[in-house]
């Protein structure tokens, strides 16, 4: 594994351990989706995105929009790790008056671009940011992470259609394709396939990657950062609960809190991964 990828692997491992600790401490959370998105978010914040955490509103910054706003465990650990706020704040997750709400809030948490939570909101906002950049011929890039179940929301396709129409080459959507939504498999609920064809039909370039392979993610993101005439959709094939054996591919861990024994096992597995 090259240096960049091994750094992402290490940061993602830290994020996984840290977000599980937050969920245990808070007594609630969305560990399944957090863990499926962790490697994607780690690759973005610890390699790809250009930002200054001391100046989170700098006009030229790259933007990351968390359309799957419920996966705050992954987002908050990345923001803290990237220096947007003190790491110690992670201990306040979901506590009264905490800045770390169950869904991200830009009005009181640096680094958050737009308040999400209801699904189907992040992509339209990201498209608007990219249109602003297109008008200004700015060189910032816009990344948006969506859940796969979220693609059942009509507003996502309104935005996808418009991004294709405008040829928003600085826009990249990453689909966290873990194939599970809250209660069941996406394909058993309201099937998304053929998903790549759908994006292509809406005027996008499409790449598919292993969403837990840092090197593959970095390669896809490097492609995303080159000049393009179309928006890019990266379908990141992932596992809900990835990295913790008993959570992997279990819809039941969409919500949920590990008990003491499960938590100990999860941490042991994650520590073993770093030794390996």
């Amino acid at each position: 594994m090259n240096l960049r990828a091994s750094r992402i692997k290490s940061r993602a491992n830290w994020m996984r351990r840290r977000l599980l600790a937050m969920i245990v401490e808070a007594g609630q959370g969305h560990p399944g989706g957090d863990l499926s998105a962790t490697d994607i978010i780690a690759a973005l914040y610890f390699d790809i995105l250009r930002f200054d955490s001391a100046e989170p509103a700098a006009p030229g910054r790259d933007r990351f929009v968390m359309s799957k706003g419920h996966c705050t465990g992954a987002l908050y650990t990345a923001l803290a790790g990237a220096g947007f706020f003190p790491e110690a704040d992670l201990d306040t997750y979901l506590k009264p008056e905490s800045r770390l709400n169950g869904h991200p809030n830009r009005t009181y948490l640096p680094g958050v671009e737009t308040n999400t939570g209801p699904l189907g909101h992040g992509l339209p906002v990201a498209v608007g940011i990219a249109v602003a950049g297109q008008i200004d011929r700015a060189d910032y890039r816009v990344f948006v992470l969506t859940g796969d179940g979220e693609l059942q929301e009509g507003s996502m396709w309104e935005a996808a259609m418009f991004a294709g129409h405008r040829g928003l080459g600085q826009l990249t959507v990453i689909v966290d394709r873990n194939r599970l939504q809250q209660g069941a498999a996406t394909e058993d609920t309201n099937a998304l396939e053929p998903l790549a064809d759908k994006w292509r039909a809406f005027g996008w370039d499409v790449a598919e990657v292993d969403g837990h392979d840092p090197a593959a993610l970095l390669t896809a993101f490097d492609t995303a950062c080159r000049p393009r005439s179309k928006p890019l959709c990266i379908i990141a094939n992932t596992q809900k609960g990835h990295g913790v054996s008993f959570m992997e591919n279990q819809a039941g861990w969409h919500h949920g809190v590990p008990n003491a024994e499960q938590y100990a096992q999860a941490i042991a597995e994650l520590e073993a991964e770093m030794v390996a």
């Binding site: 498209v127 608007g128 940011i129 990219a130």
Partner: protein, 318 residues
Amino acid sequence: MSAAAAPTGLFDCRDAYVRTVEQLAADDDRIVAVVNDSVGSSKLGKFRDRFPERLVNVGIAEQNMVGVGAGLANGGKIPFVSGASCFLSARALEQIKADCAYSHANVKLCGISSGVAYGELGATHHSIEDVAWLRAIDRLTVIVPADPWQTAEAIKAAAAHDGPVYIRISRMPVPELARTDATFRIGQAERLRAGTDIAIVANGTLVHHAVSAAQRLEADGISAQVINMATVSPIDTAMLAQAAATGAIVTAEEGLAHGGLGGAVAEYCATHSPVPMRMLGFPGFLPTGSTQWLMDRFGLNADGIFAAAHDLLKVKAR
């Protein structure tokens, strides 16, 4: 102080809206317009010709329109998101709440052809619920201008304001109101006429009718105060306190009789200064009829306000 509707003519407030947005755009390249295939109905054709790159037409997709507006604000723009108010306020309600108000995005939402401007097209196209819905959203400024001058001032004030604003732009022709103090501030109501027996609190297309009704009440020996409550949220409570001091309030608006301006005034009065009230507006889904027919059918004119004031004064006298 007495103010009368200028008899010089009637105006479509959309003209003042587009004229002002164009002026602002000429001086500030952050100003952009976002529309849902509504260039014509929003009268933005000239804006598009002057500033083609700054007219963003998302097509018939209101949720995306408001989300894109919030994104443009994130990118440093001042977007005027313009669409028929029935669709803008209803279809995109969650985007207005989450992307604009909760996110404190600097988006200016312009509801065109509001109220019953679409007359015979029916309740799907009437926008009589918008003020009730939108004033329930925290941190969203809601303005209902009464005439072309106030529409232009509201647009300028919205552009200068940091945060989301909904401006309800009327289509029904209205006169330019006569006024002695031509200043507009968000959240500051305008007293067009002093009076001590009763207060008429109106906004939008009902304000000039309120002035006419007050003139007729004066002929009956009744001193009626007229307040143009253009900003519904945040509402001018100091002015409401003075209105309540008359001991009777009639509200009038081109919208639902409950939940909008009347509801806002009633909330204030019930908790601070209870007075008998009459709330004039529409009762709900409306029968087929032209804009003018609907306004007259439901007493949203000078006659209706005059009659309601007389009726209310009987209650006050008890």
